[in-house]
């Protein structure tokens, strides 16, 4: 909203580089969405987050 780039924009750009990881994580949740509990897909999420962190450092 401000003239300078909003943090959410940077966040969105960084996440867009990780569509593969995001899709894997989503699949892990969606295969059994009635039985979701905390850290059910922790492994997939860590991969997604690592990818996002790497992408945001590059930007």
């Amino acid at each position: 909203m401000t003239p300078r780039s909003r943090p959410i924009k940077k966040f969105a750009v960084a996440v867009s580089h990780c569509s593969g990881e995001a899709s894997l994580y989503g699949k892990c949740i969606v295969t059994d969405y009635d039985g979701v509990h905390k850290d059910k897909c922790l492994r997939e999420f860590i991969k997604l987050k690592d990818c996002y962190l790497a992408a945001s450092r590059k930007a």
């Binding site: 909203m1 959410i8 924009k9 966040f11 969105a12 996440v15 867009s16 569509s19 990881e21 995001a22 899709s23 894997l24 994580y25 989503g26 699949k27 949740i29 969606v30 969405y33 979701v36 509990h37 905390k38 850290d39 059910k40 897909c41 999420f45 997604l48 987050k49 996002y52």
Partner: protein
């Protein structure tokens, strides 16, 4: 009063030790307590903030303009002049803009129809947010309609005398009202006899995609759920609400508007620019954590995403029309007074 007197007597006669005396009060509650769901002040702040970024706020007006236009199309069926009209919860006066649109009648037999504003004497646009209400005050559509802007202190207490308006309209703001039965009854009260109320509000399955994917993301990341999408009235509730408020000749119908977004961040940003952000009282304070946003992006795309990679968001709009009761109004015949068998008519065709 009687109860108080008895207490006094009881105290003088039958209670020997003052330290064991327990005083009780009889309290008369003014009315049934209303269930507070939304923080009205948060909603006001969101509106003020959204309107302070004029261009972004205008870009995000696509939904409100579309719904206002569809609501005003329903006015084409009412062949009347409306000397005094109220737009309750006007947002950025989207209804005024829709009323001044050229050629609103899509009927090809009549190539040119005058704007609906020609049938309106005065439009009072009322909203709680000053900035949003006056955002477009200097645009050209204001010259085509006699519009008065009015800032309401509290949208749930309407400051108008009974039987003031010939028409009340409301587009996409009733879904933030805490006490909907009371507001609808007030609307009925400020209408003149045999005057209509036309409203549109979000309801039912609106944003169910976002609701479900945020729930899953919250559950997996945090192990618990916080409300992110408002509880909304259902279609079948609206009929009952209108009836309870005293409206007659009801019409309620539903339309789904599905908008495609490139990603969940674009959706949430647009919701923020529309001032449709979360204002539930029991919500978790502060922004959604990045982990949940990250998880939400993956889940939304997997669960609801389109084949072309875009993400659909459903807005379910409930349109309601009700009339203030009047003696010279058409009324349903009493039960059992029918003289023609419908079966005969249908079978003879």
């Amino acid at each position: 009063m009687q109860y108080l007197c008895r207490c006094k007597n009881f105290h003088e006669l039958a209670v020997p030790t003052p330290q064991t005396f327990r005083r009780t009060y009889a309290i008369h509650a003014a009315s049934a307590p209303t269930f507070q769901v939304f923080n009205r002040r948060t909603k006001w702040l969101q509106k003020e903030r959204a309107a302070s970024h004029v261009e972004l706020s205008r870009q995000a007006d696509y939904l409100k303009d579309e719904v206002a236009m569809r609501l005003c199309e329903r006015l084409l069926d009412i062949k009347r002049q409306f000397p005094k009209v109220l737009d309750l919860g006007a947002n950025s006066c989207n209804i005024a803009r829709a009323l001044t649109r050229e050629n609103p009648d899509p009927d090809p037999a009549r190539p040119v129809s005058p704007p609906l504003a020609t049938r309106i004497g005065e439009l009072v646009a009322a909203d709680s947010s000053h900035s949003l209400l006056y955002r477009d005050a200097d645009l050209s559509f204001n010259d085509a309609i006699n519009i008065t802007r009015e800032v309401l202190q509290d949208e749930e207490q309407l400051p108008y005398a009974p039987a003031t308006f010939d028409l009340v309209m409301s587009s996409l703001s009733l879904h933030w009202i805490n006490d909907l039965p009371s507001v609808l009854a007030q609307i009925n009260n400020i209408l003149k006899p045999d005057a209509p109320f036309l409203g549109a509000m979000l309801g039912g399955d609106t944003l169910y995609e976002l609701r479900t994917s945020l729930q899953l993301a919250d559950q997996e990341r945090k192990g618990g759920i916080s409300p992110h999408v408002s509880p909304l009235a259902d279609v079948r509730d609206v009929g009952g609400l209108m009836q309870r408020a005293g409206f007659k000749l009801l019409t309620v119908d539903v339309e789904d508007i599905i908008v495609d977004y490139p990603d969940t961040f674009a959706l949430m940003e647009d919701l923020q620019c529309m001032a449709e952000g979360n204002a539930i009282l029991s919500r978790e304070m502060g922004p959604i954590s990045r982990d949940v946003l990250l998880a939400n992006e993956g889940i939304y795309r997997e669960l609801h995403g389109n084949a072309d990679g875009s993400l659909p968001a459903t807005f379910r709009v409930i349109y309601m029309i009700g009339w203030r009761e009047s003696d010279d109004q058409a009324k349903p015949l009493p039960r059992g007074s029918g003289e023609v068998n419908l079966k005969d008519i249908l079978e003879s065709k």
